[in-house]
Amino acid sequence: MSGKDKLDIFPTRMALTVMKARLKGAQKGHSLLKKKADALTMRFRQILGKIVEIKELMGEVMKEAAFSLAEASFVAGDFSPMVVENAQKAQLRVRAGKDNVAGVVLPVFEHFVDGNNHFELAGLGRGGRQVKGCREKYTKAVELLIELASLQTSFLTLDEVIKMTNRRVNAIEHVIIPRIENTVAYINSELDERDREEFFRLKKIQAKKKKLNAEREEMAMARLAELGVSDFGELQDRERASAAAAVTGGGLNDDADDQDLLF
């Protein structure tokens, strides 16, 4: 059974510290990303409000501009074909600047006039004033529209970034952090079990040693009793030790039986 999702590493104390550090890092990253997402969302809402406002305004401006065109056509005649013909090179263009919001680079349009307007001299024949007025109205409209375009691109770019950031926040919160926590729990449980095993083993060995020692002493006592020593307490400690050693097979320092080696 797969059970909890965790990282596969060998459970040592070192790994535990490493995992704990990673957990801390993940939590920090999560809170930072959350802050970023919040800041971006705030800016997003701001931009949206502005867009709605300007779109309404733009409706008005366009209406006025259309009126003035109608006026101009009334006075100067239908100059549309001529205008279309003469549209060879655009003077009104847009340039992009960069705006930085919480680490996200947003494009900002600004209008940019490149050379003189061709139609400066248009309509000098008749209705020049109306044509000029109409042109100015439309130029104003274009400027407003460029601002609107700016807001719209920022809006769309921000939307993408916010979605991505939220995805990352969720991923950290629901996948990465639980995984690391499970790994830490696993390592801890393995270490605890190891400790318990050690402890148990030690205890067992101690118990065995104790038993062994008890048996030896019993045997020693029995032998000495045979040899006629009734009161064990009369013997010197050394003698007692050597007696016990003699019974059990002796230690290295016991030279009672050793013969001197003569070369």
Binding site: T41, L48, I51, V52, K55, E56, M58, G59, M62, K63, A65, A66, L69, A70, F79, S80, V83, V84, A87, Q88, K89, A90, Q91, L92, R93, V94, R95, A96, P107, F109, F112, V113, D114, N117, H118, F119, A122, V131, C134, R135, K137, Y138, T139, A141, V142, L145, I146, L148, A149, Q152, T153, F155, L156, T157, D159, E160
Partner: protein, 124 residues
């Protein structure tokens, strides 16, 4: 973002294109946004009652993929005809702006961008 568009945007500037009725297009051309390049391609399309939907679609597709166009202005009633293209259009550059025309005042309920904005809001 396409590298070409940003290059034009930083350099001598990118164009504003128009898809609209005669009044709208004339007005904007008067303001000086019109251009015809060496291949006789223009950045505007005049739509009248004889223009087919496929012509409008082709113009929109070509404007939206050209490197030197940053903004596409389109009359709202024309936008209605290619609504399916606009709803699927997600690139930030070139930006699509829906503008009212003489006979059709601005209706924010139909604007593709605002519709998407509303769905985002409700998702928040």
């Amino acid at each position: 973002m396409s590298g070409g568009a940003t290059a034009a945007l930083k350099g001598h500037g990118a164009l504003i294109s128009v898809i609209g009725d005669e009044t709208t297009v004339t007005g904007f051309l008067l303001a000086g946004i019109g251009e015809k390049n060496a291949k006789m391609e223009s950045n505007f399309l005049i739509v009248d009652n004889k223009t087919t939907v496929s012509t409008i679609e082709d113009a929109f597709k070509s404007f939206s993929t050209r490197d030197d166009i940053a903004v596409i202005l389109i009359n709202q009633f024309i936008a209605e005809e290619i609504r399916h293209l606009l709803d699927n259009y997600t690139k930030p550059i070139p930006t699509v702006l829906e503008i009212p025309s003489k006979d059709h005042p601005y209706d924010s309920a139909k604007d593709s961008i605002l519709k998407r904005a509303k769905t985002m809001f409700s998702a928040e």
